[in-house]
């Protein structure tokens, strides 16, 4: 038995798991985050995986990662740099060195650190001997060989035995974070409940990792991260894509309109289709279409019959759906288009994050084609924004584009579970059978939404279509003045949505020296940077937008008083262009990043500090 190590209490800690895409790092990472949630830590996670399913083993291209940020304090991003890195091979080590904090703990599977793998990772010298790891706390654990020894007596085949080595890693972390190992054991019992041999082997390996750590005295210091101090209630760990799917299901339940999702698999949006396909028990209808176009068109058909119609996609798919969105605009049928943004253009960086579809969402269609555009800001609140997208679409009879991104979609966070009774009511403007004088383009005077009669209803037969329609009657019309009236009405209908969305919030003083402006999925990093600078006494505030089209009514007021304004976004300045077009009276500077990666808090702080000083 080793000596009792020194235990340090941490406010937060970032752990990165990295290995071959076949090493099960996503699983190890999510098990660690579930355990963290179980012990009450706040948390945020982000997987980082290559677009190849199994790139050549041992190479940099094949490294798959999973980052977990846990906290006693509030955690709003997966963290800039890691305190602990688990590297299952040299390639995983090499590709993650630049994301480590000084003095970080590096746990390596020393069994895979051999000349063959150094070569594959393109190391010219042995990193364990060349001094490149000086200053780090390196734990050289023989993870593979010890796992094989432990599993021998359980009669597993070599492949299955190899797969249990992530439990060895888990065991090390249980020890490193002073956690009760029985939590891990019960997770294993739940996960493999149908296979007793696997339960026993995995638990033995987990204990093996724990005991190994205790014995070797390689980790002089261990950590405790206490339960989240600002959280109280019932929580779950949820990813952006699942939260999006659930928000849509919730809106279907509340509105009484069955959910119909027509979609085509595309990274990083596919999980929404998969999740809803597995929710038939809640009445969800999913249709895996032959292409993106059929995905949205089938949904428009479903909308015509009175369903809550949804299609989900990513950037290139949104481009393919453009024509059909125009059809939904002119037929004034409700539909939610979820665009999980990724690096573009074209196939671009399918597994990476970006915010470069904003202008496509706003303007990427023929003709005057206004839609509502809203953007989720955290993995968990994808639920609320998907719900709001559905509510606005149904109540205002207009397409809504919900923008999320690869970072929100695949990332997860500790999320407080809402009660359905607290969710806002949803009242689509449906009409009763045989309503006297029904015409398809008579409108609600407040919202300008047209009324929704659906096939099967008596006395309401009518026709819709892509040709311009006469105001009120809905007859085909080529009348020039009618066209102007209808174009105006469709725009005005979207503009009036500003009366139904919350005002824009400012975090901080409205007359701060620097007003930081962001939108969508960059919230976590931006709000962390701004709050840290506020705590340092800087005059800085944040307006982070979710409602893009229309903008909140008080937007001009929000922008007015700051001495300087900087717009931060993961593109070349699309929201900046949009705000400049709406508010030419204000000056904006920009901070843009287009690397397929989220903002780091540190780089934002550096930029803001520079702007505050000059």
């Amino acid at each position: 038995m080793g000596k009792n190590p020194k235990i340090i209490e941490l406010e937060d800690v970032v752990v990165k798991f990295a290995g071959d895409s076949g090493d099960g790092m996503q699983l190890t990472g999510s098990q660690f985050s579930d355990t963290s949630a179980f012990v009450g830590n706040d948390l945020s996670t982000f997987p980082d995986y290559p677009s190849e399913i199994r790139a050549p083993q041992g190479t940099i291209a094949g490294v798959s990662g999973y980052q977990v940020h846990i906290g006693h304090k509030d955690v709003s991003t997966p963290g800039d740099l890691a305190d602990v890195l688990v590297a299952m091979n040299p390639a995983a080590l090499k590709s993650n060195m630049k994301w480590l904090k000084p003095g970080a703990t590096i746990i390596i599977d020393v069994d895979s650190f051999d000349d063959k793998n150094y070569k594959k990772a393109e190391y010219t010298s042995n990193p364990l001997e060349d001094g490149s790891l000086d200053g780090y706390n390196v734990v050289k654990a023989p993870i593979t060989s010890l796992t094989i020894t432990i599993t021998k007596e359980y009669g597993l085949d070599a492949k299955t035995a190899d797969k249990t080595k992530n439990q060895f890693v888990a065991g090390i972390l249980f020890w490193l974070f002073n956690r009760d190992i029985t939590i891990g054991e019960s997770f294993i019992q739940k996960k493999f409940k149908k296979n007793e041999a696997l339960v026993k082997a995995n638990i033995a390996v987990l204990q093996g990792g724990y005991n190994y750590s205790e014995t070797i005295e390689a980790m002089a210091t261990t950590f405790i991260v206490n339960p989240a101090k600002n959280k109280k209630g019932l929580f779950r760990n949820i990813s952006g894509n699942v939260a999006t799917a659930w928000g849509l299901l919730a809106a279907a339940e509340k509105s009484g309109c069955d959910l119909f999702l027509g979609s085509y698999p595309i990274t990083p949006a596919t999980e929404i289709l998969q999740e809803l396909a597995s929710r038939k028990h809640l009445g969800a209808i999913t249709f895996q279409a032959e292409d993106e176009i059929a995905g949205i068109c089938s949904s428009i058909g479903a909308s015509f019959t009175g369903k809550l119609a949804v299609t989900s996609t990513s950037g290139p798919g949104l481009a393919l759906k453009g024509e059909a969105i125009g059809l939904a605009v002119i037929t004034e049928l409700p539909i939610v288009i979820v665009n999980v943004q990724r690096g573009g253009p074209s196939t671009g960086l399918p597994t990476k994050t970006e915010q470069a579809d904003l202008l496509q969402a706003l303007y990427g269609r023929s003709g005057e084609s206004p839609v509502i555009v809203i953007a989720a800001t955290t993995p968990g609140n994808c639920f609320h924004f998907a719900y709001e997208a559905a509510k606005l679409s149904l109540e205002h009879m207009t397409p809504v584009i919900l923008l999320t991104d690869g970072y929100l979609a695949n990332g997860s966070e500790l999320w407080q579970i809402p009660e359905m009774k607290d969710m806002a009511e949803i009242h689509p403007p449906k009409v009763k059978d045989n309503q006297e004088g029904y015409m398809p383009y008579i409108r609600d005077p407040e919202t300008l939404a047209r009324f929704w009669a659906v096939p099967g209803q008596e006395g309401l037969r009518h026709r819709v279509g892509g040709l311009e329609k006469a105001d009120k009657t809905g007859e085909v019309s080529h009348d020039p003045y009618n066209h102007q009236v209808m174009v105006g009405l469709r725009q005005e209908k979207v503009d009036r949505v500003a009366n139904y969305i919350p005002e824009q919030e400012i975090i901080g003083e409205k007359d701060a020296d620097l007003l930081v402006i962001g939108w969508g999925g960059t919230y976590g990093a931006i709000v962390s940077a701004v709050k840290e600078l506020q705590e340092e006494g800087k005059s800085i505030s944040l307006a982070h937008f979710s409602h893009i089209s229309p903008l909140p009514k008080n937007t001009a007021e929000v922008l007015k008083y700051a001495k300087k304004r900087v717009i931060c976004e993961l593109n070349l300045g699309q929201f900046a262009m949009y705000l400049r077009s709406k508010y030419p009276q204000y000056e904006f500077t920009q901070y843009n990043k287009v690397q397929g990666l989220p903002f780091m808090i540190s780089e934002l702080k550096a930029k803001f500090t520079e702007l505050l000083e000059n």
């Binding site: 989240a228 929580f235 919730a250 058909g301 359905m420 026709r463 279509g465």
Partner: protein
């Protein structure tokens, strides 16, 4: 859910008439199809509010504006996808797609084959005039090779599609061919298409009086039609001709045209049409028959029983709903791993 045909009041063509003017060219074959549809739909026994017509873009696709049902005039090539969504979302509706050879075979070719593969229960009418009419006379995917059109001034160099072949290749359950000049044949086939359990594709050989006049003359001409068409009916011998003395026989497992009374051929040698046979090869051969060696096959060539997409989907939903413990959103939100966080210190 099934299409609701119970207790439907007796309807007449008048129930489906709209006051708005029909804007097809005078002499266009589409007029005859429209009036035949108005005559056919009442015979399907469907409540008039449950009938939906969906179309894409092109001359044929103005159809929904001329019939008093729920209607959706949609995007070029996409009527099939939109109609799929309508039918899957509400299987009680009786859905018709009206499309043309450009709309369904060119820009909508992908959706066309996938609709058929899934066997969603609806009727699809292809108005095949073998030309782009609304854009004024370019060749279409069904235009015969060598045709001089505005975009093929030296003659088209593309092999045309035969819609029936695509239906067979997509494992279609129903294919029929009719001609716009034979109202009785159209009505008979349209009603049976509407009753078919699955995707029923009807190719309507249609005349474009402006850009492709008389394209089907060799089939529909008064003096040749008896000899150049064979009207197939399930369970009946495949006989044709002005004198009803020609028929299809099998030789070396292939169809041949034979004359009854010649070379020892009797009526017994004439093959019986089996539209319900699972053997798609036989139907494929019938679909491919054409002048000058064969008469063109008309009527219902194939009508077989297959599982229907939306029936299976809604059955899966019903089973899932009955088996689950997660009955509502609150159940779902609290399912699986949840964590109660109460303490501010360990």
């Amino acid at each position: 859910m099934k299409e609701n045909t119970d207790f439907a009041p007796v309807l007449t063509p008048q129930d489906y008439k709209l006051d708005s003017p029909v804007k097809w060219c005078a002499g266009c074959g589409a007029h005859a199809v429209l009036s035949t549809i108005r005559n056919s739909v009442p015979e399907t026994g469907v409540k008039k509010e449950n009938v939906v017509f969906v179309s894409g873009i092109g001359c044929s696709s103005r159809f929904p504006y001329y019939i008093n049902t729920y209607g959706f005039h949609s995007l070029h090539g996409r009527a099939t996808a939109i109609a799929s969504g309508i039918k899957i979302a509400n299987p009680e509706l009786s859905v018709w797609i009206v499309t043309g050879d450009g709309d369904s075979m060119a820009i909508g070719g992908n959706h066309f084959i996938h609709l058929i593969r899934r066997n969603i229960k609806l009727s699809l009418l292809i108005f095949n005039n073998k030309i782009y009419g609304l854009t004024k006379g370019q060749y279409s995917p069904t235009t015969p090779k060598g045709s001089i059109t505005k975009t093929s001034p030296e003659g088209s160099i593309e092999e045309p599609f035969n819609p029936g072949e695509l239906v067979m290749g997509s494992q279609g359950s129903f294919f029929a061919r009719v001609v716009d000049t034979d109202v009785k044949m159209m009505k008979d086939v349209f009603v049976q298409a509407a009753m078919h359990k699955g995707t029923a594709v009807v190719e309507v050989l249609q005349n474009c009086v402006i850009f492709n006049d008389d394209v089907h003359d060799n089939i529909t001409g008064k003096d040749v039609k008896e000899d150049h068409q064979i009207y197939l009916k399930h369970g009946q011998p495949m006989i044709f001709g002005k004198d009803r003395n020609k028929g299809l026989i099998l030789r070396n497992n292939s169809f041949e045209v034979a004359t009854i009374g010649e070379n020892g051929i009797t009526e017994k040698d004439i093959q019986i049409h089996d539209a319900h046979s699972g053997d798609a090869v036989r139907h494929y051969n019938l679909v491919r028959m054409d002048q000058p060696d064969f008469p063109l096959a008309m009527g219902i060539i194939r009508a077989v029983t297959k599982t229907v997409y939306e029936d299976m989907l809604h059955e899966q939903i019903a089973i899932s709903e009955s088996k689950t413990k997660i009955k509502c959103m609150d159940d779902l939100l609290k399912s699986g791993n949840t964590f109660e966080i109460n303490e501010t210190t360990p």
